[in-house]
């Protein structure tokens, strides 16, 4: 990047981007509208505090701005086996879907447009607990939602210190990746 934050120790720091945030940045369609919708949704559903809808848009923003994913969208997926996901009071789980900038595995194939395939991302809080039954439930719900069971999902672990870590969860046994 050509412009950098410059300054001398103890001196005034110059902000290189000008005083105003450009209008194009203010209205980034990839996350702004979902953000607002989720805020309104959570305000209308105070019992939903434990749900993952609020962190879904933060994960989506992280994928968008930090990891340069594209085609990002937020999906409310009906949970098929509801009792297995007690943290969701509305009977839905909020998932993110998007396309990585490049293949995540060297063995992955591209889609018909020579792009990396889209991934399902399950946003969760790091401090929460998980179980095998909940994974089965999430795979099952995605299968019912899109008519096809995914081979794998990404689990996005979100913490309040702004860290987000991503882990693959594969259905069944897979050969470990070659690095």
């Amino acid at each position: 990047m050509a412009s950098r934050v410059t300054g001398t120790p103890g001196g005034k720091i110059e902000w290189p981007f000008g005083a105003e945030i450009p209008a194009s940045e203010q209205s980034r369609p990839t996350f702004g509208s979902d953000d607002l919708r989720d805020k309104a949704y959570n305000a209308a559903n105070p019992q939903n505090n434990l749900a993952n809808s609020d962190i879904a848009c933060r994960v989506k923003r992280n994928l968008d701005l930090h990891h340069l994913w594209t085609d990002l969208s937020i999906h409310r997926v009906d949970v098929v086996t509801r009792e297995s996901l007690p943290l969701l009071n509305d009977g839905q789980v909020v998932l993110v879907r998007g396309r990585p900038p490049d293949k995540l595995y060297s063995t992955d194939s591209y889609d018909e447009h020579d792009s990396p395939k889209q991934e399902w991302i399950l946003p969760v809080r790091t401090e929460s607990k998980w179980s095998v039954k909940r994974w089965v439930s999430v795979f099952e719900s995605i299968a019912a939602y899109q008519g096809l069971a995914p081979e794998r999902i990404l689990m996005a672990m979100y913490t309040d210190d702004s860290t987000v870590v991503y882990y693959f969860v594969h259905w069944g046994l897979i050969k470990p990746r070659k690095n």
């Binding site: 969760v124 095998v132 039954k133 689990m155 069944g172 046994l173 897979i174 470990p176």
Partner: protein, 255 residues
Amino acid sequence: MVDDAISISVIDGEYFVFDIDAVKRLRNDHHIAGILVGTLPQVPQQSVFLGLPVQLMPEEAALLVQQGVARIIDESQSHEPILAIDPNDIDDATAGLKINEIESAGSESQGPLASYTTPAITTVDKLVLPDSSVNAIFETPRFHMYRYLHQNGYFISPGLRFGSHFLAYPGDPLRYHSHYLVRGVGYDEEFSLLDLVGSGRLGTGVKKAWMIGAHLPPDQQDKTTALRLPGAKVGEGRESSDEFVSFCVEWAGFG
């Protein structure tokens, strides 16, 4: 019980095999390697060269009993007849046990020591514990996981070195690196996501995957069939069975 059943000695709740032929059979026919734990009486601290006995995990002993391959011997009871020997008759007694030493020696170069075998205690029926002595192991999540991997042809060793229950090898551990750090849980059992982060990152760092799985309750067993991917590639030609569901976790490579 077949006559050539492998004798597994239980000593203080741990399982050992003392017979080298049984150890060979376990490795070749049942892909169970176990761990050599015997050291030298003169140099008990060295742990570089270990020999017989082979120690088995409780799950291994239980599976072998379940398959009718092995029986469990109560080793502490088998010591009683020996301890009961009158010290005055000790020479007669040892003469009776006397070692099939020199006979099988064959080669002069090895000498008598090479063919020395531990005197075999005659296995009398009362020392054999009933198969039910391992029943408590069968219902544990660890056992379900062990059996699932064993059925899929994996060699399995203890997983403590990587903080898991087991390590699963695609072939003999002398020839292959392990593929999975394995943890068996109950279907409903909660685990911390920090465990997932830690184990997943460790596993990916050493070119393995963290594998976690559970035995499905009978009323849930239709689920895996419904979720089985039509024509999807399944790793190494294997996938979750109807009774067992498993997941592999790896770091995504970013974040």
